[in-house]
Amino acid sequence: MLRKQSKKETAGASTAQAMAASGRRISVSDMLRKYGLVFAILIMVVVLSSISGTFFTSTNIINVLRQISINGILALGMTFVILTSGIDLSVGSLVAVSGVVCGSIVFNNPDAIWLGFLGGVLVCGLFGAITGFMIMKFRIPGFIATLAMMTIARGFALVYSDGRPYVLTSEKFKLFGQGYVGIIPVPVVILIIVVLLTLSLLYYTKFGRYVYAIGGNPNAARASGINVGLTTMIVYTLNGLLAGLAGVILASRINSGQPAIGVSYEMDAIAAVVIGGTSLSGGIGKISGTILGFLIIGIINNGLNLLNVSSYYQQIVKGLIIAGAVILDTTSKRRA
């Protein structure tokens, strides 16, 4: 037996040596895997700057940032949902719900912009909580529960507004979508705040740990004394609140609360999260990845516009990039 053990040890040592030796060689591809998205963004920036004179101007950069803020906020919320191995298809409809609720308040009372803001955000938070409750109480898969909520919320927005947009003339209300803090647009400021908020939630709180644990192995989470149902419900509520926030910004930017807006916004949000390397099976993913994900989508959209690529082709390009990102992710994982 002694001999057997020592044999195992030498085998272990030699594999360790092999790993250490190949470690340096792998490091280039490791770097590429780790910072691949950063490289991708840099390459896109260099290429676009050289082709189009307008791309690398401060006006355009601020423009890009403003354009991505809505998808960015949605993607950050979606990151939590996907980390628990769920998905939320209802956020596009919630953007519309927020728009009409907030719009109706500001329409009737042009000065009550903060009441409108809160109304939009909280109503969507309530919708998210209801979705989370369905998932927790009846153990419906998130896909189904949010698919149901997607049509319910869309219907609610249409019923609430009688199918007509609230056209907003309030100058004050422009703050959320069109205002500036210095040279920085307010939507970008809000996005940065949401980034900081989600970062601290995910990395510095117990709740963040629970989110990762539930996505990684719900049984182990339960056996460790974690309230899986409640945590899941909070995740969907948080996602609803953020969708509501995005809805208010959008309504302010277009000066109207539109019941039919936001269709398929959830897809861009999911795409950003997935490009950012978050695993759809849960438990693995980072806020930084999601940030890179929505930056890439924003730059692609902007760049293709500047290059006068037809919007039909833009969709194909976007799809190819999403597929490529996921293929890269799964193959690199399989090799590991």
Partner: protein, 502 residues
């Protein structure tokens, strides 16, 4: 020796950290029922999975009808006339009985791509009648009882017209009448020269139905005998057979007062009227076969499963344990037998896993994790348990089984428990890590922790426990002082319920 339909010789198979089979043999004659015996983890299932092409052996050869064969995958095994009734049933619940039986070999109307369901139903009906089953061929599987599903699986295996049928615990869910039907079928198969490899823990069954028996222990071939040449006691000692060596460093610990008492714990259909207690510094071993209810009882104490009746007392005061959090708050923690299923979040780091059970303690205020405290506390535990790693930020899936088990152990120690429940704490890990975990257990007991250890491995039970509780069929069959009993007594008690008279 020409009448061997199956010869498996010198089979070896290793998994990371474990030698599952070591020069194992199995020779089966045409038309005989051959029992394959051994304790849990002796290698029976691994050997059969090799035969069915699910695993590939590292060494050794397999011959069928005297021809050497290589069984690449289950399809090859079926073609060679082998079929197996798995211990874990795998019906497709939304499909009908006949669809399940003929899955993958549906009969078509000639020259068309359409399934001839009528003919399949007729063939199924005939099979069902043969087994005296009053079930419609078009009934959905999810409307059947577990026993009926098990019978369907048996019928399915037989319907392949196999020459060798492996039955892994086929009677675990059957009533006496159904068992008798099964015996009749098996005798019918024998007349058709079909060989049956029969795996069961129930000794009575072996003596009732088997013609010969092969015993494995620790993956090694122990012996093969005609059933007439052997009796119960001899069979048990062949299965247990090991001598107790010094690998169990049981420390002498002075037992202090009783800390945990369980009174009349019951859960309908799972376990009944369970009462026992543990003292500080004591290791209570829990023995019993898989399915005896031993894990379920402990899961109920830990709040992971519901209980219907009974109370749990800590220091004489009744506790209201409704969920895991309650148990943890009272200093009770359990290490689950299914390390990957219930113990670990494999894709996360060692640190996050260790911290998971007690983030309250590692937090500042109600929400925020105290990152420095978390890091220090987890690193300290990882060091104490000698987890081999490059750092506490390694993912758990990168560790070996033994080290993964230590992470689970560290996670439960983070709770600073008074009562530590361990379910199969050393299953599937190598000898070195096993000894380390055993010596850690001794140390915990010395510090006054009460330990409840469920194990299928009798030497471990005998080597580590102060007292031994034996369970069977959801009841306590006896509680013994270790000094008063032998391994054979424990196994006999677990298998038959016979208690050695004092």
């Amino acid at each position: 020796m020409d009448d061997h339909i199956l010869e498996m010789s010198d089979i070896g198979k290793s998994f990371p950290g474990v030698r599952a089979l070591d020069h194992a043999h199995l020779n089966v004659r045409r038309g005989e029922v051959h029992a394959l015996m051994g304790e849990n983890g002796a290698g029976k299932s691994t050997l059969m999975k090799i035969l069915m092409g699910i695993y590939h052996p590292d060494q050794g050869s397999i011959s069928i009808d005297g021809h050497q064969v290589v069984i690449e995958n289950p399809a090859v095994a079926l073609r060679l006339g082998l079929s197996m009734i798995q211990q874990e049933l795998s019906p497709i619940p939304e499909m009908t009985v006949s669809e399940n039986i003929f899955l993958g070999r549906e009969e078509l109307y000639r020259g068309t791509p359409f399934v001839n369901q009528k003919s399949l139903n007729a063939r199924t009906k005939k099979l069902l009648e043969e087994f005296k089953m009053r079930v419609s061929p078009s009934a959905k599987m999810n409307t059947l009882s577990v026993a009926q599903i098990q019978m369907i699986e048996i019928i399915k295996a037989i319907s392949y017209n196999s020459r060798i049928i492996i039955m892994d615990e086929p009677t675990s869910a059957l009533s006496d009448e159904e068992v008798n039907n099964l015996y009749e079928t098996i005798r019918g198969l024998k007349r058709k020269d079909v060989a049956v490899v029969y795996i069961s823990h129930r000794l009575e069954e072996i003596f009732e139905i088997a013609d010969s028996v092969t015993v494995l222990r620790d993956g090694q071939f122990i012996g093969s005998e005609p059933i007439g040449a052997i009796d119960k006691d001899r069979l048990i000692s062949m299965m247990v057979g090991r001598e107790l060596t010094n690998i169990f460093p049981k420390q002498r610990v002075e037992l202090k007062g009783e800390i945990l008492a369980v009174r009349g714990l019951s859960r309908t259909g799972v376990f009944q009227d369970i009462s026992f207690s543990v003292r500080k510094g004591e290791i209570l071993g829990v023995a019993g076969l898989i399915g005896s209810g031993r894990s379920e009882v402990m899961r109920a104490v830990y709040g992971l499963d519901q209980r219907d009746a009974g109370e749990i007392l800590l220091d004489g005061k009744p506790l209201d344990i409704r969920n895991v959090k309650d148990a943890i708050r009272h200093g009770i923690v359990m290490v689950n037998e299914d390390r990957k299923g219930y113990g670990l979040v494999l894709c996360r780091s060692i640190k996050e896993n260790i911290a998971l059970s007690n983030l309250d303690y590692l937090s500042r205020g109600k929400f925020f994790v105290n990152l420095r405290k978390e890091k220090e506390a987890c690193a300290k535990l990882a060091k104490e348990l000698m987890i081999k790693m490059s750092g506490i930020n390694d993912t758990v899936e990168s560790l070996s089984g033994g080290n993964q088990q230590k992470v689970v152990l560290a996670k439960s120690l983070m709770v600073m428990p008074d009562i530590l429940i361990l379910d199969e704490p050393t299953r599937g890990i190598d000898v070195g890590a096993k000894a380390e975990i055993h010596s850690l257990m001794g140390e915990f007991a010395r510090k006054g922790m009460a330990i409840i250890m469920i194990s299928s491995e009798l030497p471990e039970i005998m080597g580590m426990s102060d007292r031994i509780m034996v369970m069977g069929e959801g009841k306590i069959r006896g509680i013994f002082n270790r000094k008063d009993v032998t391994q054979e007594d424990i196994l006999k008690c677990a298998l038959t319920g016979e208690v050695k008279s004092a």
